[in-house]
């Protein structure tokens, strides 16, 4: 899909945002920021470097060189459990679509980053808290399978509150489905890279997020299996602020690195560069065999 058309999707979403205030207060330092400035700074507070949760469209625009070939965009949520509590599940989906400009919690497709072709999936916390239901699982699985077929490295940005309750066990099974696809990608020799953004928990952290060859995290992102509140209820005491932050996980050896958003694109480019070097070694070996 040409970037211009694709941007229009973004602009529609921007219109939604136009109605909201053009000023936003930094939850970390209290600074009042002008939204266009904040966007230009990759949604990072200019004063304290607080990383706001980024929208999937903005993330992709901040990374890819030119066009982004979106895939699986026609895969849309159903209502397998006919779920209704305060609202029906379809209503919740419609409301979130209205608010977020997304039709599900992930965007998947192909693009190039610094000249390196890559399969790219980006989750968005603004749609249903980034929860993984059938559509997230299916889109990501199609992405990973296509990366395997096209022999491209795959990069996924995670942001998720876990599995989506309203799809019950079908949501949980997306962990198994994506895992199976990751396994085939790895068997094909293509590298798998994840970038964990705030927050990454539950069924997403306990599946593809931590199955990658290289796992990066954005500074101060909250990452864990159990939610903070669940643990606090279990142990009946408050957890230290640093618990489950990206920096905490780095010390504990869980992840490869913590990256400032401004450094993310160049960091990914370098890693994709190493991946390409490895691929070229393989090609040379295949040629001489």
């Amino acid at each position: 899909m040409p970037m211009a058309d694709w941007l229009r999707g973004g602009r529609n979403r921007d219109k939604v945002r136009d109605d909201a205030a053009q000023w936003v207060k930094c939850p970390s330092c209290g600074e009042v920021l002008y939204r266009p400035d904040l966007s230009a700074n990759l949604d990072v507070c200019a004063r304290c470097s607080h990383h706001f949760r980024m929208r999937a469209h903005d993330r992709i625009l901040s990374l890819v060189d030119g066009d982004f070939e979106e895939i699986a965009r026609d895969i849309l949520p159903a209502d397998p459990l006919a779920w209704t509590d305060k609202k029906s599940y379809p209503q919740k989906l419609a409301d979130d679509a209205e608010k977020s400009g997304m039709d599900e919690a992930v965007l998947c497709g192909f693009g190039s980053i610094g000249g390196y072709d890559v399969a790219l999936g980006v989750m968005d916390f603004h749609f249903r808290g980034g929860t993984m239901g059938s559509v997230v699982g299916e889109r990501l699985t199609r992405l990973i399978e296509a990366a395997t077929l096209r022999r491209l490295p795959c990069t996924i940005f995670t942001a998720s509150g876990g599995a989506r309750m309203e799809e019950g066990m079908l949501a949980l099974m997306q962990m198994a489905k994506t895992t199976a696809a990751v396994l085939r990608l790895k068997a094909s020799g293509e590298p798998f890279i994840t970038v964990l953004t705030d927050p990454t928990t539950g069924g997403v952290s306990a599946s593809f997020a931590f199955q990658a060859d290289v796992i990066l995290a954005e500074r101060n992102a909250m990452i864990g299996f159990a939610g903070r509140r669940v643990i606090e209820q279990t142990i009946r005491q408050r957890l230290p602020d640093r618990f489950q932050t990206a920096e905490f996980l780095l010390e504990r050896g869980h992840i490869d690195g913590v990256v400032e958003r401004a450094n993310l694109k160049p960091t990914l480019e370098r890693i994709l560069g190493y991946a390409r070097a490895g691929r070229e070694r393989r090609k040379r070996a295949e040629l001489s065999a």
Partner: protein, 325 residues
Amino acid sequence: MNPLLEREKGLLELERRIEDLRSASEGKRIDMSAEIASLESKYRQLLAELFGSLTPWEKVHMARHPRRPTALDYIAGFDAFDELHGDRMFRDDPAIVGGFARLGGHSIVAIGQQRGRDMKENLARNFGMSTPEGYRKGERLAQLAERFNLPLVTFVDTKGADPGILSEEHAQSEAIASSLEVFAGLKVPTLCVVIGEGGSGGALALAIADRVIMLEHSVYSVASPEGCAAILWGDASKADEAAAHLKLTAADLRGFGIADEVIPEPLGGAHRDPEGTVTRVLDRVGALLDILETYSLRELLDARYEKYRHLGSWRDAVAGSDGAT
């Protein structure tokens, strides 16, 4: 306390009276058979009343019943079992048990999630909630099955993965994620039996398999009903409502194609006839292993991929059709 225990009190009282009459009639050679038959009929009637149809939330309690057979009860039914221990690094998590086993003509590796059969054992086994070391132990034993080229059988019974500080510090996410990878790619036939509660990712870590079977009153859920109610409505006491929403019964799971078959339980639950239940389950496990052994490894791995590949439910906006399942 499990509410089913309260409900079972009348039954236990009847059981006692029948037993008393029996021993009285035996000892004194007085014929009480009419009285006994009458009580037995009452007992059956009560049983049907109490357990004839269970709500999802009641099934959750059945799955958690303190006298329900646990993984080690099934393992005790094997013809041989040689327990193996540890994750090779840090700990031997007692919430996961496993080892070599024999079942009829099959040599296998068996892994089970083990909760306690009393409070003391529950504390020792962390109520069946695994730490990362437990999942790494399970992963290692699964890989051992591959090394020895033996089928793998798992018994799933957990509220979920341990949600403690240490488990987070030891990378619970990574442990489960890595276990999923190993189970998805394991180069031997795999079979999973959900015997009690299948709680979320903590259950799935041992539950990717060529065949998944569930006991009639076992449940398998994306989150515990309490957890789901807390997440969605900020009120864990609405767990009964959540249980109804979640579609977590064996019949539901069979409908989704997640469980391949359901093994019936005695009226009133597996713990009313533990030996019979264990025998029935292990017989079926043996029969399914016979079937799995007729496939080549390639066929098994392809079928395993396809099975999980198609789980989910979505609309295809262009095709206008619904997605799989």
